[in-house]
């Protein structure tokens, strides 16, 4: 770390006085210093992400034969994905459900983050802890809790029947896409909340005063100043939530019915009961590509909006 504060000249002199070559190299090349600092992370990333990903990519071109694989490098799996309607339907449904859950979450947590950023002045940490408290419990417990809330004899159904609003329990609450979207929206809310809160918190308060001085009312101030400035957080939160929920299978397995099966359930079965790993790999790659395309479209939309707003 001493290197960082010495000037190049001094170091060059030091090198001239017989310092070892590596130190001199380090001092001269900022890029090299950066690479060395990044090295541990890059190695871990390589071993745990890039190599398995490459293996999965390779496997997706193989074929399952009984209990073995034939590495015949064919496009058969992808052709099947493209030609059989079940795959595109499940993929589109998963993207749709993840979008619905993400939208619901962002709309619901934005006011929460807003309140936290602008109206809480003391004990902010305590507030943050209280708001994120539900996320301290296991993801599974939260999903099970929703079963208790949405179930046939659940809190909502018995409550509504008690008041006399309904005579029979509402069936669409559990084992449906609604149930999966509601559960996902709650279970992943913290991932959307925190980035939005951080970007709101960072907004320079003098900008808000300026807009008030220039005659903006509170509503226009929100739409013309606060919302645009917090968009980085909204976009980050959207991605953090959308990407993992597309591939979620636990929630669909526990609270979804026959019509709420997602692409994640199908991928899990390929690696399990159906026992066709190459197909599972091809489906996973297809899902990643689909998420990338949707993500890029979303970013493009945001950029277009930004340009239009100017």
């Amino acid at each position: 770390m001493r290197m960082a504060v010495t000037t190049p000249n001094e170091t060059a002199l030091a090198a001239g006085r017989g310092q070892s070559a590596p130190r001199w190299l380090l001092a001269r090349h900022e890029g090299l210093r950066g690479l060395i600092l990044l090295a541990p992370a890059l190695v871990i990333l390589g071993i745990t992400v890039i190599v398995p990903f490459a293996m999965m990519g390779a496997m997706s071109f193989w074929t399952q034969v009984g209990f073995d694989y034939a590495d015949d490098w064919s496009l058969r799996n992808y052709i099947e994905i493209a030609s059989e309607p079940i795959y595109s339907t499940l993929l589109l449904r998963s993207l749709g459900m993840a979008m619905a859950a993400t939208l619901l979450t962002v709309v619901l947590v934005y006011p929460m983050a807003y309140f936290l950023a602008f109206h809480v002045h003391r004990n902010k940490l305590l507030w943050l802890i209280i708001i994120t408290l539900p996320f301290w419990t296991s993801y599974l417990l939260r999903v099970f809790a929703w079963r208790v809330v949405l179930g046939f004899e659940g809190v909502i159904n018995t409550g509504l029947m008690e008041i006399g609003l309904i005579a029979e329990p509402l069936k669409f609450l559990l084992y449906s896409r609604t149930a999966v979207v509601i559960t996902l929206a709650h279970a992943w809310a913290a991932f959307a909340l925190l980035p939005i809160y951080v970007s709101l918190e960072k907004i320079d308060r003098s900008v808000l005063e300026a807009s008030a001085d220039l005659g903006e009312g509170p509503v226009m101030r929100f739409f013309r100043v606060i919302l645009p400035l917090s968009m980085p957080g909204v976009i980050a939160g959207t991605f953090l939530m959308f990407i993992p929920t597309v591939g979620d299978y636990v929630t669909a397995a526990l609270v979804g019915g026959p019509d709420a099966r997602m692409i994640g359930n199908l991928i899990q079965l390929q690696f399990g009961t159906i026992n066709n790993w190459p197909m599972g790999a091809a489906l996973a790659i297809t899902m990643i590509l689909a998420i990338t395309v949707v993500g890029l479209m979303f970013l493009g939309l945001m950029l277009a909006l930004k340009r239009w707003a100017r």
Partner: protein, 374 residues
């Protein structure tokens, strides 16, 4: 089922505890547990690891092992045996795993198993021979067996006697009854559903590999789908839904009906006129079992009288030890749909026939499509 209610009084509390864990397992979420649990002293010798369904990891089934070694064996849990096999094939090693009789030829093709020397099991002479004397269990097993049988029973229908209006005889038609659309529950395991649907479609099991059979079975399952509220391997969910009246009938194994009767829910485990699906399951030993001696102790405990009394009295599954039946009178056994002579039950129903992996893959793929609505 009054005979069963009498069994129930002392054991109600244990049921809920098991139910929650089992729900997690059904979606494949509980990995090897015991060895990772904190605070449990590791014995100097390694315990045997048993890879099984949730619910079979209770001390009552391993009493002799616990007496000898002071602790339970280690457990790993699967949602369905095929998932377990997938994990073994990708390198996970357990001493024992819990598939069923019809799986033996296909599972042996993986080369992951070793024959079991029955002369090392002191309880083996009490095991009912009809349950294990099958050609594919003895073939190339060096005088032993590939699978030590442990539990047997039926896949049939549990229905609410107060909510379901039965017309005529009990039949698989109960699960295809349009009057109860949206109140039918189904297992998700193809190994159960596909064969039961074959019975419903009238496909003889000998012809189940033909294209015609695939079409006929797919057709009845597609016809049923709009009526189905949920497909799940989580029997606790099915039980709860039957108890609350959300479902009026569901495809289940013996234990659902027995456990619900314990909870005084009016249900019956149907004996369909077309015959139920019957099965015998048990344990196979891994080729590279790390603790084979202890694995033999586990097997011996599982086929002991005390394990058998618990398995039949608490879960309602048939056991393999003939002396375990002495604890029950005929009326109780009949109420549990069991018999001292298992072939009375097993032969009255239909037993699946071993199939090659290609069939299995095709069946599971087709079944998954049907569940997803295609």
């Amino acid at each position: 089922m009054d005979a069963i209610k009498q069994l129930a009084a002392r054991k109600r509390h244990a049921l809920n505890r098991r139910a929650f864990v089992r729900s997690l397992m059904a979606v494949g979420l509980v990995p090897v547990m015991s060895s990772a649990l904190p605070g449990k002293a590791r014995a100097s010798t390694r315990h045997a690891t048993v890879f099984t369904w949730g619910g079979f990891d209770v001390p009552e089934l391993y009493q002799d092992y616990v007496d000898a070694h002071g602790e339970l064996p280690d457990f790993a849990i699967f949602g369905a045996p095929e998932d377990g096999l997938t994990r073994l094939r990708s390198g996970f090693v357990t001493d024992l795993i819990h598939p069923c009789m019809g799986d033996i030829p296909r599972w042996r093709q993986t080369g992951l198993f070793q024959p079991i020397d029955t002369s090392r099991l002191s309880n083996w002479p009490d095991v009912i021979p009809g349950l294990w004397e099958e050609p594919h269990n003895l073939e190339d097993a060096d005088g032993g067996v590939w699978l030590v049988p442990f539990d047997w029973g039926q896949t049939s229908i549990t229905y609410r006697t107060d909510l379901y209006d039965l017309e005529g005889e009990e039949s698989w038609d109960i699960l295809w009854d349009e009057r109860y659309a949206g109140r039918i529950g189904m297992l998700a395991t193809g190994d159960d559903v596909w064969w039961c649907a074959a019975i419903k479609a009238g496909v003889p099991f000998e012809e189940i590999h033909t294209d015609e059979a695939f079409e006929a079975i797919s057709a009845v399952l597609r016809e049923q789908r709009p009526l189905v509220r949920t497909y799940t391997d989580d029997t606790s969910s099915l039980n709860q839904a039957l108890a609350s009246g959300e479902l009026v009938a569901a495809m289940t194994w013996n234990s659902s009906a027995v456990e619900l009767t314990f909870e005084e829910v009016p249900v019956r485990f149907a004996q369909p006129k077309e015959g139920a699906l019957t099965w015998v399951c048990g344990f196979m030993m891994h080729r590279d079992a790390p603790a084979p001696d202890r694995a033999y102790d586990v097997l011996n405990a599982l086929i002991s009288v005390s394990a058998g009394e618990f398995l039949m009295g608490d879960y309602g599954y048939g056991h393999v030890n003939i002396r375990a039946f002495d604890a029950f009178d005929d009326e109780t056994l009949e109420a549990l749909t069991l018999s001292r002579n298992p072939s009375d039950i097993l032969d009255a129903g239909h037993r699946s026939i071993p199939q090659p992996p290609e069939w299995s893959a095709r069946m599971n793929t087709t079944w998954e499509r049907i569940m997803a609505g295609f």
